[in-house]
Structures are given as C-alpha cells and as structure tokens.
C-alpha cells in the first residue's frame, strides 16, 4: 500500500515537473526580454532575427530618436489643448479653428516624416528581407489608416 502511494504521488510529481519544464522552455525568450531595460527592443531583435551588433546599432538609433519623440509628444499635447479650447468657445468654424486644424495637420506631417526617417534608419540596419518586413509592418501600424468598419460606414 505504501509503495502504491509512492508511485501515485511520484506520477503526479512527474506531471508537475513536465509542466514546469516545458512551460519554462516555451516562455524563456519572452521572460529574458522582459528582464531587459528595453524589452520592446529585445522583442524587435527576436522578431527580426538581429545580430548583437545590429541590435546595439538599433538601440543607439532609438536613443537618438527618443528625445525627438518626447518633444513631438509635447507639441501634439499643446496643439490638442489649443484646439480643444478653441472648439469649446464656439459652435462655428472660426478662422482660428481653421488655422489650428491646419497647424495640427502640419504637425502630424512633421511627426510622420520623423517617424518614417527613424523607420528607414532601423530597416537599413536589419538584413534586407527583414528590413522590408519591418517597414511594411511599421507603415501599417502607424501611417496607413485602418479601413472603416461596416458599422462606421452605415452609421450616417
């Protein structure tokens, strides 16, 4: 009876050990990325199969781009705040609102140009096919507007 109990518990422990080891193996790359200071860039390295040198270069490019990105964020916030206050004051499109909308469009164009410049630099560091894949994905995620859903087109 004692030996049977030992076999019973041993089997269960074996199942737990099997679970833990395969779970740890399957999530190892993502867990190691999460422990890094910039897990998003480690993800990029894994996703686009970058070498250590390419990864280091992309980290440098990001470090150079980050202050510009922060500055653009502030400009966008200031622009949005200005537009909101103008819209709240009236119920017609005033010349000031038109001017603010034009400024917002100009700012978006400037931001997108900066982004694209960064994306091109990053893609040039990557192997050619991976660079093309990265550019296509980034354009889809940031520049190309998502198609209107059926609900949006019919709710008019």
């Amino acid at each position: 009876m004692k030996r049977s109990l030992f076999i019973l518990i041993g089997g269960l422990m074996l199942a737990v050990a099997g679970f833990v080891s395969t779970y740890a193996f399957a999530t190892a790359p993502q867990r190691s990325a999460e422990h890094n200071s910039q897990p998003e860039l480690v993800w990029l390295k894994q996703q686009y199969q970058l070498s250590d040198e390419q990864y280091a270069r992309i980290c440098e490019l990001y470090a150079a781009y980050h202050p510009k990105c922060v500055e653009m964020c502030h400009e966008i916030d200031a622009q949005n705040a200005r537009l909101q206050s103008l819209l709240a004051k009236t119920n017609v499109v005033t010349p000031e609102i038109k001017s603010a909308l034009a400024d917002a469009a100009q700012l978006r164009a400037k931001c997108e140009a900066n982004m694209m410049s960064h994306f091109y630099q990053v893609s040039q560091v990557m192997p050619s096919d991976q660079g093309k894949r990265y550019l296509a994905w980034m354009q889809k995620e940031t520049l190309i507007p998502s198609p209107m859903s059926e609900n949006q087109t019919t709710t008019k």
Binding site: S4, I7, A17, G18, F19, Y23, A26, E40, C69
Partner: protein, 112 residues
C-alpha cells in the same frame, strides 16, 4: 437454461400443488423481512470503496501499470506545459509589439 415455471407435462405435480393447503400463519412483517434480506445480500456483493482502493493499489504495484501511469501523467504535464507556455509566450509577444509601436509613434504613446 432451465425454466422456473412448472413443466406443462408434469400434471401430477401441478395437481398436488393445487390441492395443498396449509393453516400455518406467516410471521409478523414476513414480506418486509424478506426484502431486507434480499437488499443486504445484494449490498454484500457490491465492492466497497476500500476494496476498490486496495484493488487499484495492487494494480499500481505491477511494473507495467506503474510505468504506463507515470508516462501518461508525464505526457499530460508536458502537453499542458507546452500549450500554456505557447499561450503565455504569444500574449507577451503581442504586448511587446504594441508597446514598441507606442514607443516610436507619438500619436499612439499613452498619455498620463
């Protein structure tokens, strides 16, 4: 298989039985007691939980059964771990992908 019904041909036995009379009274609660005895006899034939556990324990002592049991549990553990790991891995990848886009696109950066 023998039938419990009296044979059609056994006329003499049927005749005796039809003529047989008895004055003896049945004991009190006779029918109830008969059913109780039937129920207890049936219960005695059913395997108890302890007997089942003992049977399983004896089964596990056989090396082939013990090996098969361990292998099946190991396989279940590995399969479950693999599935859970893949789900978790995909979830982390998806989060990092979204965060990367937010990191480089000022229009998607989460605001405080």
């Amino acid at each position: 298989m023998k039938s419990n019904q009296p044979s059609e041909n056994d006329k003499s036995l049927r005749k005796v039985l039809s003529e047989w009379r008895t004055d003896a009274a049945l004991p009190p609660r006779f029918q109830e007691q008969v059913w109780e005895r039937i129920a207890s006899a049936e219960a005695a034939h059913q395997p108890s939980l302890f007997a089942t556990v003992r049977w399983l324990a004896a089964l596990l002592m056989r090396p082939s059964v013990a090996t098969a049991y361990a292998m099946i549990l190991l396989l279940i553990g590995i399969t479950a771990g693999c599935q859970q790991g893949q789900t978790k891995s995909e979830s982390i990848k998806s989060q990092l992908q979204t965060r990367y886009v937010q990191m480089v696109d000022p229009y998607q950066t989460p605001r405080r």
